[in-house]
């Protein structure tokens, strides 16, 4: 495919435009006001939780070593797939962990989500390195820094000519686990907030007990959490233009932009999810 344009690959980080920032603040305030108007304090708290969850997801994506197609050929460090797949994997694993622990209270559920996401990334990163080292016969070397910030291992001697590095250095492994944990935490937070809203509203609207509507509430909260997770993860992926090595990568410094974008996107999708049941039975 020919590159006909696309994002400008300039050296510095382009700051968000003033129009974008103002629009973002207006949208967040409007969404918060609407949430308070529709579901009072519970809605406001839920929307704040959803925004925090979205921000955690977008921030977490920046830690995950996404290598893309070059990594599959051993020409760039990271896990050899795209952000959408990695984030979906880590986020859904975290979401399952958190949803399973939901009856045990907010703290346990959030911890379950974080551990679920972190565990999936830990296993993925380990097995990726096993395949790189024992299957493809390449050592781990980053192209962006000379020394691993944690272990102090030096990279240039091991880096093949013509590549940007290869394998998965220790710092990337750590980044992957942190990213997975943050993603799982954010996804679970969104799920729990929406579940609270639906469990409060559905019994009233449908004139049923909480047990009877539980499948509907859980399913709705789950699918919306997945949807918002993917929107935030893809916006973060656009921010890093596809690939990143981990927290030591210069691209990591771009994360404030993704946090603003994710907060606004979460607020707007979140208000529709919170207001979902307001129109049931009106038409």
């Amino acid at each position: 495919m020919s590159a006909l344009g696309g994002p400008k690959q300039t050296g510095g980080i382009q700051p968000p435009t003033a129009m974008g920032l103002v629009l973002g603040i207006v949208l967040i305030v409007a969404a918060l006001a609407l949430a308070y108007f529709l579901v009072q304090m519970a809605g406001l708290i839920a929307l704040v939780g959803i925004i925090i969850g979205g921000v955690l997801i977008a921030f977490g994506v920046h830690f995950v070593p996404v290598g893309g197609a070059p990594a599959a050929m051993g020409q760039a460090p990271g896990i050899a797939t795209g952000v959408a797949m990695l984030a979906a994997g880590a986020g859904l694993a975290g979401l399952f962990g958190g949803a399973w622990a939901a009856p045990l209270g907010l703290g346990v559920a959030l911890a379950g989500g974080a551990i679920g996401g972190g565990l999936l990334m830990a296993i993925t990163c380990t097995m990726v390195n096993v395949i790189y080292v024992f299957g493809m016969g390449i050592p781990a070397a980053s192209g962006k820094v000379d020394k691993d910030p944690i272990t102090g291992d030096s990279f240039p001697e091991y880096k093949s000519q013509g590549t940007e590095g290869h394998g998965l250095p220790f710092i990337s492994w750590i980044g992957g686990v942190i990213g997975g944990a943050l993603g799982g935490l954010g996804g679970t937070l969104i799920y729990l907030q929406l579940l609270d809203v639906y469990q409060a509203q559905l019994p009233v609207i449908l004139n049923a007990t909480v047990e009877q509507i539980a499948p509907v509430a859980i399913s709705l909260a789950g699918i919306f959490a997945v949807g918002m997770f993917l929107v935030n993860a893809v916006l973060a992926a656009y921010n890093i233009t596809g690939t990143i090595e981990g927290p030591h990568d210069p691209k990591f410094k771009r994360f404030p932009r993704a946090i603003i974008a994710a907060a606004v996107a979460s607020a707007v999708t979140g208000i529709f999810a919170i207001g979902l049941l307001q129109l049931v039975g009106v038409f």
Binding site: M1, M19, G68, G82, V216, F224, V231, L235, V264, V280
Partner: protein
């Protein structure tokens, strides 16, 4: 057989596909409302056809957007489409007979916010970003609404959360045996996401031809319809579900056969090892 190519690299202009896709999917989704009017369930399969039309449109939009070199891979565009679409589709579904129209409006709002954030805050600065994300969110929402209508015979929220189950000959109303309560919506989400992200991802490259890509999109759509038709046996009448299944299988066989023919045509066109042709139409 000559090396003549019927449809050029440009093919059908994108705007025409946009209008066909929008109007076509809206009309086809409304045809499922005949179920409610006539009191039968035989028109459910129109929902699946609406999803296929929407997927055709979405594939062309992804082709349009991804020609700018996002760096994140084609699947991320499909993921953000379905992620924002699922919120819009379920919110729209609560508005009864107005569901498809409200869905389009809500999806456009969410898509516009995501697009503005991507351009103004994350600074992708891609000219077609806002329009493309609006289109993709509508496509994702219409796909989910269409496949949901196909599975349970209605696009109304109350129909999606209530189901009937026969226990020892007694018919019992239950929220658990419903489209949303049974989390069939998650299956629909993934079937739609795979269908929308696969076609252009599989066909992109110098020899990409619009008719072949779109034929693959239709094939993926019909392929996603087959599991939904099987799922619909649980929610709608036996004969109605059989009609859906037959329509899906016939549609899939036809589009698959056509796709293989088009693939052979394009493969033959490369027999003489020509230099790589840069497509003119922008992909």
């Amino acid at each position: 057989m000559s090396v003549k190519v019927e449809v050029g690299a440009g093919g059908i202009p994108h705007n025409r596909i946009l209008i066909y896709g929008l109007v076509g999917s809206l009309v086809l989704i409304y045809l499922t409302y005949l179920n409610t009017i006539t009191g039968t369930e035989y028109f459910s399969f129109f929902g699946g056809l609406a999803a296929v039309v929407a997927l055709l449109w979405g594939t062309d939009t992804i082709k349009h957007l991804c020609s700018y070199g996002l760096g994140t891979g084609v699947p991320s565009a499909g993921m953000i489409a379905l992620g924002s679409g699922v919120v819009a589709a379920l919110f729209g579904a609560t508005t009864g007979p107005f569901a498809p129209i409200v869905t389009i409006i809500i999806a456009a709002i969410i898509g516009a916010v995501a697009g503005l954030m991507a351009n103004a805050v994350v600074r992708m600065d891609i000219p077609v970003m806002v329009v493309s994300l609006i289109e993709l969110a509508i496509v994702g929402a219409m796909t989910i609404l269409g496949l949901s209508a196909m599975a349970c015979g209605t696009f109304e929220f109350l129909g999606m959360i209530t189901g009937e189950i026969a226990i020892l000959g007694f018919v019992v109303q239950s929220y658990e045996f419903s489209l949303i309560g049974g989390s069939i919506i998650a299956v629909i989400f993934m079937l739609g996401a795979i269908a929308i992200q696969h076609s252009f991802n599989a066909c992109l490259g110098p020899g990409e031809q619009q008719d072949r890509t779109l034929m693959l999109a239709a094939e993926c759509g019909f392929l996603s319809m087959i599991p939904i038709a099987i799922i619909s046996f649980a929610f709608i009448g036996m004969y109605a579900a059989i009609i859906s299944l037959v329509v899906s299988i016939v549609g899939w066989l036809y589009t698959y056969k056509k796709y293989i023919e088009l693939s052979k045509r394009d493969a033959y066109a490369w027999l003489d090892a020509q230099p790589i042709l840069e497509p003119k139409g922008g992909a």
